[in-house]
């Protein structure tokens, strides 16, 4: 009984290990350092978005504008990142700031208008896509400085820079959720918004905070992506929000709010990465990959709802 409960608690982690074991038997390339470096580097952009949206989902909200924010911030950063123009700090700052601004916009509209986050961020998603096309006049922004391209393509002590960013941001996000006032309030707002307000929590402030963080991290993801592909693409990031939300949900964050962890989300991100990678190694076409991914998302949520039923 005890063992089963334990396994259920770490359900998705166990699934992750099992899939890794299977893949390492099928494909000898799977369990190599170079392959895992690829998996994690590729997963880093989804990870940043997923961490941000985890905060949002725990409050009971959703952020559909992630992908568009990636495009806007990427294009913004790219336009300021041509060689011999500005120091590299400027495009980075501009990318982060434009993301933050869009996040603040989301938070502001959601808290002031009382329109559900789904609709508000759906609107922002379309606005963002338009903005990215306007800023770039519909063309990719290329010819970026080497120092800017280092962010997505460089290495420190042999470790790809995106992996370092991933570890750093994961640590900060996890710490924020577990150890800070904001983290506790995020759970409270998602767990019972009315009670949170009655307990003296400024619910609007908490919501503003999570959408702003989500925007800021989308900005970072936009910079990372632009730097990796060395171009600011106005069409970049389409559908990224769904992968990020999927990772959070696979990792045990309930879309009804109040529960979820950053570690869970990280496992969700890696699971998606590993499956994509494994299917690549097995030469499965991307069409089938999508079908498999969908099945896994539904499977994860079913597992989670069983879990909750057995708990109550």
């Amino acid at each position: 009984m005890f063992l089963i409960n334990r396994l259920r608690q770490y359900g998705i982690f166990v699934v992750f290990i099992i899939i890794c074991l299977i893949l390492s038997f099928i494909s000898p390339q799977f369990l190599t350092v170079s392959n895992w470096t690829i998996i994690i580097t590729q997963a880093s952009i989804n990870a940043l978005l997923a961490f941000g949206v985890t905060f949002v989902i725990i409050t009971g909200g959703i952020d559909l504008s992630l992908g568009s924010m990636v495009a806007v911030t990427g294009v913004t950063a790219a336009m300021l990142a041509h060689p011999d123009t500005y120091p590299v700090a400027l495009p980075i700052f501009a990318g982060l700031f434009s993301g933050l601004l869009m996040g603040v916009f989301n938070g502001f509209v959601i808290t002031k208008s009382k329109i559900v986050p789904f609709i508000v961020t759906l609107g922002t998603m379309t606005i963002g896509r338009g903005l990215a096309l306007i800023l770039s006049k519909g063309r990719p922004v290329s010819n970026l400085s080497n120092s800017f391209n280092f962010i997505g393509g460089g290495e420190v002590f042999g470790i790809p820079f995106p992996i370092i960013v991933l570890i750093l941001i994961f640590t900060i996000c996890s710490f924020t959720l577990k150890k800070t006032l904001l983290g506790r309030y995020i759970y409270a707002v998602g767990g019972n918004e009315q009670a949170a307000r009655a307990s003296g929590i400024n619910v609007s402030q908490v919501k503003m905070a999570v959408y702003s963080i989500s925007g800021l991290l989308a900005g970072l993801a936009g910079i990372l992506l632009t730097s990796r592909i060395t171009t600011g693409q106005p069409n970049a990031g389409a559908g990224f929000e769904l992968d990020a939300i999927a990772a959070a949900v696979i990792g045990g964050t309930s879309t009804s709010g109040g529960t979820g962890t950053m570690t869970g989300t990280l496992v969700g991100v890696l699971l998606i990465g590993v499956i994509n990678n494994g299917l690549d190694l097995l030469n499965v076409t991307s069409y089938y990959q999508q079908v498999v991914m969908g099945i896994i998302i539904i499977g994860a949520v079913v597992l989670d709802s069983w879990n909750q039923k057995s708990n109550s």
């Binding site: 150890k179 800070t180 006032l181 904001l182 983290g183 506790r184 309030y185 759970y187 409270a188 767990g191 019972n192 009315q194 009670a195 949170a196 307000r197 009655a198 307990s199 003296g200 929590i201 400024n202 109040g258 529960t259 109550s312």
Partner: protein, 496 residues
Amino acid sequence: MNESPILQVQNLSKSFLGVKALDNIQFDLQKGEVHALMGENGAGKSTFMKILMGLLAPDSGEIIFERKILKSNSVHENLLKGISMIHQEILVVPELTVAQNIFLGREANYRNWLNDKIINQNAQELLDLIGVKINAQTKIKNLSIAQMQMVEIAKAVSTNAKIIIMDEPTSALSDLEVGMLFKIINDLKTKGVAIIYISHKMDEIFKITDRITVFRDGKYIDTKYTNELDKNALIALMVGREIGNLFPEKVNYKGEKKAIISIKNFSKKGKFENINFEVHAGEVLGIAGLMGAGRTEIARAIYGLDKYDSGEITLKGNKININSPKEAIEKGIGYVSEDRKALGFIPAMSINQNISLSSLANYSKAWFVNSTNEQEATTQLSNDLKIKSTGINQKVMNLSGGNQQKVVIGKVLLTSPCLVILDEPTCGIDIGAKFEIYKLINQLTDRGIAVIMISSELLEILGMSDRVLVLSKGKQTALLTKKEVTQEKIMQYAVE
């Protein structure tokens, strides 16, 4: 009552994960009787009801309904046979009409097409029959909670129910509406319908029921005629021991009895008008009145949950203006809501996290929570309040109602308030836990905290208050001292 009973339950048992929820239960029900089922929370009442309804299958034992063994695990099937239940939480579809609700799921009786004409007519006849003045074509969302309850009863009657189970049917009703309900129950009785009546309210039990069966810890204790018992004897059966006093001895506060809060000309349009009172250190001010008298609305306005139109609040000599619960807490006001589930706690959070929720900033440096200090404080409080749990990390959703209430009170206490507003503090809590809540209230006043206690239970108001404010339709009709106050006086001013 020499006829064979309409329902007879023999040796019924049911376990969940090895824990016996029901252990060899006996029960019988005669035609045309109102039979109370009593027991503290966790006594097994709801499991028993679920089995009767067909929601759960028993592990062993027999249910004999109209001389036949009832073997079914479908609610629908039991409904057709004539066992119907009116739930504590009203289950109606707000966007449909009264008639559509009454015949919901049985529309096919009127050919294959929805025919609102026929069901409207039938529903109206039904409502008239049981003496309820509601138009069958009104949408449910436009009804009061009491009226919705009447619709539920009409629905039960329309299924030709032979047994109606009523679970806390009066929890949302005013006294007048309770009277209406009792009239309907008496009508049903004369028609031979048997009613199983579950309620925490003693007065009602003695007024309306013929017999009383008591469960305790999943076991059958006894069945008695209502007129053989009195309140104390019944309580003794329920808790398994004599309770000498319903209320703990109160020690009068010895400190200076200065005014903590004073409310002047407090008004909010359509809710309450020109309210004036003071509460002193160490004093309990009871607020009595019927449903809709404006009691909760006043509390919510003081606490900053709602806005008010005009008036003055003075706290410890300073005029204050409160716009949110956050500001109220900072100024030293605590509020325990009547709606514990909606406003009281975060179910998925632990006892520790719930208790510290309102004062977490005090246990943090900059943005970081100091969990050692936090847990020290909440552990201490959890012990003081005698919260029964597996530890402070247990989730609050897994606690009993009484312990949940203690967690909410703990949360308020940790903010070191000078005024605590308790809105129906013992609502839905069993007798043993009630006594502990009362002791807690005395501990508050002992420390010089001013307490405002809103309650619909007159006994509680009489037993706990130093003074009683009576409201009627949003207006203040009396402010009675401990010496003046009686049940009759309160009722008289409450309906004024």
